[in-house]
C-alpha cells in the first residue's frame, strides 16, 4: 500500500489533522450544547455566571467547528486543483514535445530516442531498450541535436524546460478535475 494511513504529503497530512480536530471539537461542542440545554430545562438563567460562560463556550466551539469545516473544504479543493494543474502540465508537456518533434522532422526512431533522452536515459540503456548498437543511438542523438539546433544533451533538455516555463499555463475554467480525469482514461 503506497498511501499509508499517515500520509507523507504535507497537505494531505494537514487535511487529516484538521479533520481529526474538527471531529474532536464538534463532539465537545455537542457535549456543551447538551449540557446547556439540560441546564435550561432545569431552569437555569443566562445571568448565572457559570451558565453564561458555558453557553458562550458552546457557541464559540460551534463557530470554531464551522470555520474549520470551511477551511478543510478549501484545503481539499486546493489539493484537487493542484492535481488538475499537474495533469494539465503533463498534457502540455506531451503537446510541447510533439510540436517540437514535428517542427524538426524527427523520424519515428529519433522520436523514441528523444523521449528517452528527455526521460534521462543514457545512450547505453537506450541502445539496450531499442536493441540496437550503442553507435546507432549515438548517431541518432547527434542527428536529433543537429535538427533541434542544440549543442548536446543539456541544451536539448533545457529547450523543453524553457518552453514549459515561458508560457503561463492558463487553466480553462471549463476543465473541472472531473472532466480531466474522465479524459485521462
Amino acid at each position: 500500500m503506497k498511501r499509508a494511513i499517515w500520509p507523507a504529503d504535507g497537505k494531505t497530512r494537514r487535511a487529516t489533522t484538521l479533520a481529526a480536530i474538527i471531529l474532536l471539537q464538534a463532539l465537545c461542542a455537542l457535549f456543551f450544547i447538551g449540557d446547556v440545554v439540560t441546564d435550561l430545562l432545569e431552569g437555569a438563567a443566562f445571568v448565572d455566571l457559570h451558565f453564561g460562560v458555558e453557553t458562550l463556550a458552546a457557541i464559540a466551539l460551534l463557530i470554531g467547528v464551522a470555520f474549520m469545516m470551511l477551511e478543510l473544504r478549501l484545503l481539499l479543493s486546493r489539493m484537487d486543483q493542484m492535481d488538475t494543474g499537474l495533469m494539465i502540465a503533463r498534457g502540455r508537456m506531451a503537446e510541447v514535445m510533439q510540436g517540437f518533434f514535428d517542427d524538426w522532422h524527427l523520424t519515428e526512431a529519433e522520436r523514441d530516442v528523444a523521449i528517452m533522452v528527455l526521460k534521462g536515459l543514457d545512450n547505453t540503456p537506450i541502445a539496450e531498450v531499442r536493441q540496437t548498437a550503442a553507435g546507432t543511438v549515438r548517431a541518432q542523438t547527434t542527428s536529433i541535436y543537429a535538427k533541434s539546433g542544440t549543442s548536446g544533451r543539456p541544451q536539448f533538455v533545457s529547450l523543453f524546460v524553457e518552453e514549459l516555463m515561458s508560457g503561463d499555463f492558463e487553466v480553462p475554467p471549463s476543465t473541472s478535475p472531473r472532466a480531466l480525469t474522465e479524459s485521462a482514461r
Binding site: R3, A26, L27, I115, R185
Partner: protein, 191 residues
C-alpha cells in the same frame, strides 16, 4: 505514442482518484468503533455505555452536517436516497454492467442512510431510557434492542455488499475508506 499518453507511468494503467476526505473516513471508522465498543464491550447499564452512545449520535450528526457543506463525494447530492436508482443499479448489475461509482453506489447509498437512521434510533431510544419520563417503559427498551439487532443485520449486509462490489468492480473499497482514494482499474467506466 504510448510513452507520452501514459499518465501514471509504472502503474499499469490504474488510476487513483481521491474520493473520501479525511473527515468522512475518521467518522466512518470511529462510528464502527463505537458500535463495537457498545455492542460487545461496555456494561449496558453503565455510564460508559451511555457516553459512547452519545459519541455515536454526535458522529452521525457531524456527518450529516458534512453531507451538506463538505466536498462533492461526501454530499447528499452525490448519493441521493433514491430507491429507483438502486433498482436500476441492480438491473444494470445483472446485465453485467460494472461501472465504478466514485461516491457510494446507489444500493450502498440506501445502506448508508439505513445505518445512520438506525444508529440515531438506537441513540435516541437509549437516551430516552435515561430520562425519568421513559425510564422502565417496555417499548422503549424493546425498540432499543430491536434497532440494535437491525444494526447488526445491516452491518453484515454492508460488509457483504462491500465485498461483493470490490470483487465485481476490482476496486478495493476497504482500501479506499482507509487511504481515501479509489484505485480504478484500467478501462473501467466511472460514474
Amino acid at each position: 505514442m504510448s510513452i507520452l499518453s501514459d499518465q501514471h507511468s509504472g502503474r499499469s494503467g490504474a488510476r487513483d482518484i481521491p474520493v473520501w476526505d479525511p473527515l468522512v473516513r475518521l467518522i466512518h471508522w470511529s462510528l464502527l468503533a463505537t458500535i463495537v465498543v457498545n455492542g460487545a464491550l461496555t456494561d449496558v447499564e453503565g455510564d460508559l455505555h451511555e457516553w459512547v452512545g452519545y459519541v455515536a449520535l454526535g458522529l452521525v450528526a457531524i456527518r450529516l452536517v458534512w453531507a451538506v457543506v463538505g466536498p462533492r463525494p461526501a454530499r447528499f447530492t452525490a448519493f441521493p436516497p433514491n430507491p429507483m436508482r438502486a433498482i436500476r443499479h441492480l438491473r444494470a448489475m445483472r446485465a453485467g454492467d460494472d461501472t465504478v461509482h466514485l461516491s457510494h453506489n446507489p444500493l450502498g447509498a440506501l445502506m448508508v442512510y439505513n445505518i445512520w437512521a438506525t444508529v440515531l434510533a438506537i441513540g435516541v431510544t437509549g437516551y430516552m431510557m435515561t430520562t425519568l419520563r421513559f425510564f422502565g417503559i417496555d417499548w422503549v427498551e424493546t425498540a432499543h434492542e430491536l434497532a440494535f439487532d437491525w444494526l447488526m443485520i445491516s452491518v453484515a449486509l454492508h460488509v457483504a455488499g462491500v465485498a461483493l462490489d470490490s470483487w465485481r468492480s476490482g476496486v478495493n473499497l476497504v482500501r479506499a475508506m482507509v487511504s481515501g482514494s479509489k484505485r480504478i482499474p484500467h478501462g473501467k467506466n466511472v460514474e
